[in-house]
Amino acid sequence: MASGISDLRVTAVSYLVGRDGVHVLVTTGSSATWTRLAITGDEPTKVDELRRELRDPQYVAQSRTPLLDQFAEGWGQALLPPEILAAPPDVLVVVPHGWLHDLPLHLVQCAGRPLGTRCGVTYVSSHTLFLKCTERNPCREPGGAATFDEAPPWTGPVRTSNAIIAVADVNQASDDDFGTVASAVTGAFTAADSVKSVVAHVSTAELAGADLAESPDVLCLIAHGWIDPEDRLASGLLVLEDTGLRNYFRVTANGKVFSLRLLPLAEPPAGLGEARPAALLSAAQLEIFFECRQELVLLLGCSVGSGSLMRGDQPASLAESFLQCGAVSVVAPLWDIDYPSTSRWAGAFLDAWHRGAMPKALAARYAFGEMDAAGIGLQKAGALTLRGDWI
């Protein structure tokens, strides 16, 4: 059954963490109301402990995350406005502040099920960034997407996509493990789409950002991430070293085209023990040199979706860097999960978005709902999140 995008109930919740507590502005199509949340004051400490648990891959691997369960079933509920939990909208845009950044609010239980299975949730670090994301979105232009399928069988495809899927597992001699995730992503596209599978190099980002007719609208990067705890801009994706002609990029200045050597702005971390020569596609490189034009960027690797908070209330993550340099929406995990869960979530999300023409937030709801219904725990089913525009 087809539904209209304009009929969806969309609500934004914007947080403000102050000395006197946590305030939240709830904005709907017709009203805006400030509410002060009834929290106990020990939540920042609990958030720290929760982050520590989720950063430990052993807890996630063994599906033993007691702090995440306590958050979802207990104290996390106080961090959402009561009216949202009582009657979730179709789409919820969350604009966190301070220690609320990168917190999985979509996992909070709402009438016995995670909120993210009841409404489509997208996160964005500021109102300014949200507006930038919406302005870039071709779906919001006149004649853009208007209807979508609520459930399979998908009647589409209603659009054709031009996608680049770039894979690199620098820790292995081959990309076999990451290849299973890449297959799930590729499988969501059809023969009518143009899907290009490449090995991820630093220059892949330039290729994706190139101002070409065939510039992709979907970029999927499957690679390990690395967070430099001391320098956010030196954090990045570990990809394969560029060689030969790939080692140059073009810059146009005063009508002249210059071919410049790609020099790394940051080196891969010491002690990496990589199986193949690795390079770091750093946040600095992304933000300085590359313009991202994608409607959707999927970052399916480790350590890409969370990071420490910088001055100016900007969360330091690669997902954030991609939004800052031009992507409309980014899908990335908040913590590291396994290959099967990543493949399953990404496959379901792309099916719903690409074949069902669902807005991305609803496609995320669909993917999470499928995994939740299959009995997959929150620690694996709820890690992947949408950021940026929800359409």
Partner: protein, 163 residues
């Protein structure tokens, strides 16, 4: 014929594991053995070395071994090496019930898209092996005796610190 080969046990290839895989197996063993201690005694991956050292000193002392600051540092340093890791894993491979549980944890951990940089979990495993004489496995409820592994650990540390 299913067309799928059953993977051979990781314990059969201890000597052939790469540094990364051996580290992963040690990390998985620490996760399983953490079930045998009180929650506040569990060893976490982000524990500062100074805290680990004091845990090592008290584990040495409980095992009746010299437990000065220098002894604890020497044990920490030895436990971080590849040889010590192989010996500790070999001791664990001889404990029925536990070896299967550790292998299962290792297989699940292998699937996580996560890259560790120079993580050293050897000292954590040594501390737990020095402390634990038995462990109840959470998932199965089985009580596993670890007296032999504990004894061989104490012997190994004796040799390491030269007493």
């Amino acid at each position: 014929m299913t067309g799928h080969d059953e993977p051979t046990s990781v314990w059969e290839h201890l000597d052939e594991l790469t540094d990364g895989d051996r580290e992963l197996l040690v990390e998985s063993a620490v996760t399983v053995l953490n079930q045998g201690v009180q929650p506040d005694e569990a060893i976490t991956r982000d524990m500062p070395r100074s805290v680990l050292r004091s845990r090592m000193a008290s584990a040495l002392s409980e095992a009746g071994l010299p437990a000065s600051k220098d002894d604890a540092s020497a044990a920490m340093s030895s436990a971080s090496g590849a040889d010590a890791a192989r010996s500790m894993l070999s001791a664990l491979s001889r404990v029925p019930g536990l070896r299967e549980e550790i292998e299962q944890a290792y297989r699940r951990r292998e699937e996580i898209m996560f890259l560790d940089f120079g993580l050293v979990t050897g000292p954590a495993l040594m501390i737990l092996l020095l402390k634990l004489k038995r462990i109840k496995i959470n998932s199965s409820g089985v009580d596993v005796q670890m007296y032999d592994a504990n004894k061989s650990m104490i012997e190994m540390v004796r040799k390491m610190i030269g007493i």
